[in-house]
Structures are given as C-alpha cells and as structure tokens.
Symmetry: C2
Subunit: 314 residues, 2 copies
Amino acid sequence: MSITVVGSLAYDAVKTPFGQRERMLGGAATHFALAASFFDTVRPVGPVGGDFADADLEVLRTRGTVTDDVEVIADGKTFFWAGEYGWDLNSRETLDTQLNVFETFVPKLSPAAQACDVLFLANIQPELQAQILDAVDGPAFTALDSMNLWIDIARDALVGVIERVDCLILNDAELRQLTGKPNLVAAAREILGWGPTAVVAKQGEYGAALITAASFFALPAFPLETVVDPTGAGDTFAGGFVGSVAQHLAGGVTDEVLCRAMAYGTALASFNVEEFGTERVTRLTADEIHERVSALHGFGRFTLQTPVLTGDRS
Amino acid sequence: MSITVVGSLAYDAVKTPFGQRERMLGGAATHFALAASFFDTVRPVGPVGGDFADADLEVLRTRGTVTDDVEVIADGKTFFWAGEYGWDLNSRETLDTQLNVFETFVPKLSPAAQACDVLFLANIQPELQAQILDAVDGPAFTALDSMNLWIDIARDALVGVIERVDCLILNDAELRQLTGKPNLVAAAREILGWGPTAVVAKQGEYGAALITAASFFALPAFPLETVVDPTGAGDTFAGGFVGSVAQHLAGGVTDEVLCRAMAYGTALASFNVEEFGTERVTRLTADEIHERVSALHGFGRFTLQTPVLTGDRS
C-alpha cells in the first residue's frame, strides 16, 4: 500500500509572537508526508530548486518516505513563502510568495507514484490536480485540498476536480466561499451533491468537522497551553487523516474509518503547532500519537442520564 | 430546588440575513430562564418598564418560571438593544443600546430568590453581581457570565466576582482578553487559579469547551442547516448548562455532571438559533431536547483501533 501526495515543497520564513525562522523546510507536501509516513509509504510529487538542501531531502525521507518523485530543477529556486501571525495565531498575513520552480511545474508521476492506493492532492492549481487525477491508476481513496485563491480565479476548474475525488478537505470559510452558502452544514451538503462522499471542514484552533451523507462528526483541536507556529497544521492534519484512512482500506472507507481518521489528523496537527515548521513532527513517535488519540477519545464523551424535564411531566 | 438568575429582561430589534424583528422579547435572563425552566423552578431577577407587555410576562412564565422578582418600574422603559448580523452570522454590530430601567437598577431579592440552590449571574455590572453574591444564602452552585465592556472598564471588580463563583461562562475571545493570554487553555488555567472550579468557553458556531482542573471537554455546536438568529444563544446555552447542573446537585458537581450539562447547554442553544428571539424555545418540548442530546452523544465518538504505525516497528 502507498500514498502519493502532490503539492508544494518549500522554504518558509515565519514570524509568530513566540519567535521566528528565516528559512525553514515547509510546503504542503512536506507536512503531509511527515504525518502520513507513520501509516504507509508516502511518495511526494513536486519540484524543488538547486537550493534545496540535502539535509532537507533527508528530513523528507523520515519514516521511509520515498523521494523519487521530487524533481530537482538545478537552475531553479525552491518555492518560498513568508508570513507573520497575529497575537492569538488566528490571523496571519502573507508577506511574500515566490512560486519559483512551481511557475512552470508539470507533474510527472513515476509508475510507483501512479500505482498509489491513496492520492492526496494538496493545494495547487486545479488544472494540475486534474492532470494528476488523469495520471493515476484508480486509487482506492482520493482527497483534495485547495484555497481561496483558486475559488476566486479558477472556480469552475476547482469544482471539476472536486467532482472527481472522494473527500474534500477545506477550511470552513473556504467551504462557505466555494458554495456561497453561509451555513457550514448546508455548504457541505451541497458539495456532497457534487460527488465526494466526505467533506472535512478545517476550523483551526476549533478543530475539524466531518460531514458525510449519514454522519456529522467533530473533534476540537487538541488542547495545548503552548502553540508556537500553526504553519503546516492543515497539511499535517491531512497527512494524519489520509494516512489513517490508508491503513483501513481493506474494509472500505466507512464512516467509522473516517471518524477514526479525524482523530489521527487532529493528533498529528497538534504536534505540528508545538514547534516551528517540521521540527516537532520529524522526531515524533508513534507512542506520542497513540497517547493523544486516546485522550481525544474522551473529550466529547458524556454519560447520558435522562433527567425528568419539566416538559416530560406535562 | 430552584435557580435564581439575575440579568436583563429586554426588547430587541434584530436584523439577520434571514429576516428581522422590530421589537421582540429578549434579554439574558429571559433566554436563560426559558432554557433552565426545563430543569427546575427559575426566578429571574431584573427590572422592566411600564412598557413591558403582559403577554411577554406570560412567555417568561413558561414551564413554571416565577416572576415575583421581576420589578416593574411603571414610569420607566424596558432595556432595549438593536443589532444587525453579517452574512455568516459570525459578526454582529450593535446599532443601539438603551439601558433605560437598568441605569438605576438596584437588585432586591425576595426570600425565595435568596434561598436558591443555584445562582446564575448573567452579564451585568460586576458591582451588581457582587451585591447579589452578598445577598444569596450560599447556593450550592454559582455561575457567572460577563462581556468585553466590563473587562475594559471594570476589570478589578469583575475579577473580584469571578473569584467568588464556581463557574465562569464566557466567550473565548473574552477569556483571552480577561487574562491577557492568547491561548485558550492557558487562559482557562489562569482563571481556575483565581477560584472557579470550571471555565466554559463559548465558541459560537464552533460550540463550547469546558476546562476544569482535571478535564478538558468540548462539543461542537449542533449542526443545523438553517440558523436564523443567534441572539440569546449564549444565555440559552447557560440556561441548559446551569439547569442540568441543578438537576444533579445531590451527588456534587463532578466533572461528569458538568460534561453532561455541556450537552444540554449545546442542545438548548441549537433550538434558540432556529428562529428569532424566544420563538423556538418557548414552544420547545422535552422530547426534542432529549433527541438532540442523544445525537450529540455520538458526534465526537470514534472507535479506537490501534494501528501499527511505522514508529512502532522501529
């Protein structure tokens, strides 16, 4: 079994109230791979420049991730993003985006990447996502992320690829924007009508919600007293979520499988934000993940004990 | 057993994307009482003007609520609030606030209101909240709400009353503002150090979280495809939460009691937002509440099935 992820491999400059990094390993495919590598063999697909350090390629290879599909463009520069977060980390400003090698990126998948069991299309142009869907050999589960930019400038193409995947993973504000529906449940139901069988709404510090035809499921973000850098949290969530699904394909992607995957995504994301960039998840252990998933198991639990309400007596 | 609530009884003018009301029954004590009345006898304490309609007093008496402590100031006018909500109902603008009879309000509690088992101090001046704490005969459980205004202009007095109650119920942004801590868990822990044994963070459409010394608990808002008017949702939540606690005082206010109360608060609030003002909760039935609490029981549940993560093999 294997997972192919197509998306950015990047260098990030990040400033938060708790510190800053001038140039750290980042990118959606990177964060996704570091999380999903706990569950299965991951193959990231994406370009880097000649400036991409060997040490960072080694980080990408953590837990067996195969980097054969990372295309090194020797005379190009790696995608670069710079941003700064506000006081409570709920707002962030993009200070700089340099597409660099991504400007002319044409995805080429190796046979092994094409033969994946699970495909994650991280946030890139919808047209590229469509090309990749054309290129893979019918994976058992496909999930897709996107962003407000593509809703603004390439909505039709985006809707076209959403129609072709099993699961859409998007920020809740983007789900509203995409559908024009202010209500999250209504927005998710609309998208379920387009084709996907599951919609995951990422809600930042409030956690995430899953909506399928038959289920609503939600988990809070894992409660942390110290959050240092949210960069990559969404992609780390996706890596834990999609990775967990990949481990349970044999019985079909049931709601039970998806709900459990939400817990793994939530746990993985909670580690990501504890330190800058990839620092925490790179050295994360399986025991640490199990511990947080077990804790999450109790966070929404209460004992039902039907009281006699006044209305019952009438 | 009985619950005393001190807070506003009001008329509201509300405009949402789904309609508007020029003058509808509202106020924190009103919404609280309508919800809490399912659980116990409620005594709202607060002033109204000579313009307060008998029909609205009747609404307040729904499910046995005792209005002996509603002080009618014949030559005064009832508190009035006007507001308008944005597209996704997450933002609202206050267009008008007329304190009217609340400007000179001095709470006077009847012996029955003083002898309450549970006290809820809705959002009013902290000095008045302190006077009421002085006046009651040691209720078994006390909870308090407040708002950003009092954090801005009367923080010391507010902290003084928070130190004296069992439970603080506040919007999450206000918890951050009150403590100066951007992190919700850290903010709640700080407040637990002041005296309360429980902190409830209201998170609007994202639900609510409960933090005690030993527990973290969270529930999403009940998923609705149609939300019409969020006015009073927080006080309706408080009514369900505090009401449920009131029903289980005999065994002590354990974390189990508080977690279950979160579910009742969440369920009650979800009905409140389905229609304008008090319209939905006034005609709500106990069966409808039970049904939503049962559904909430499943929203954060997943089956633990420890997979073999890559890190486990090393």
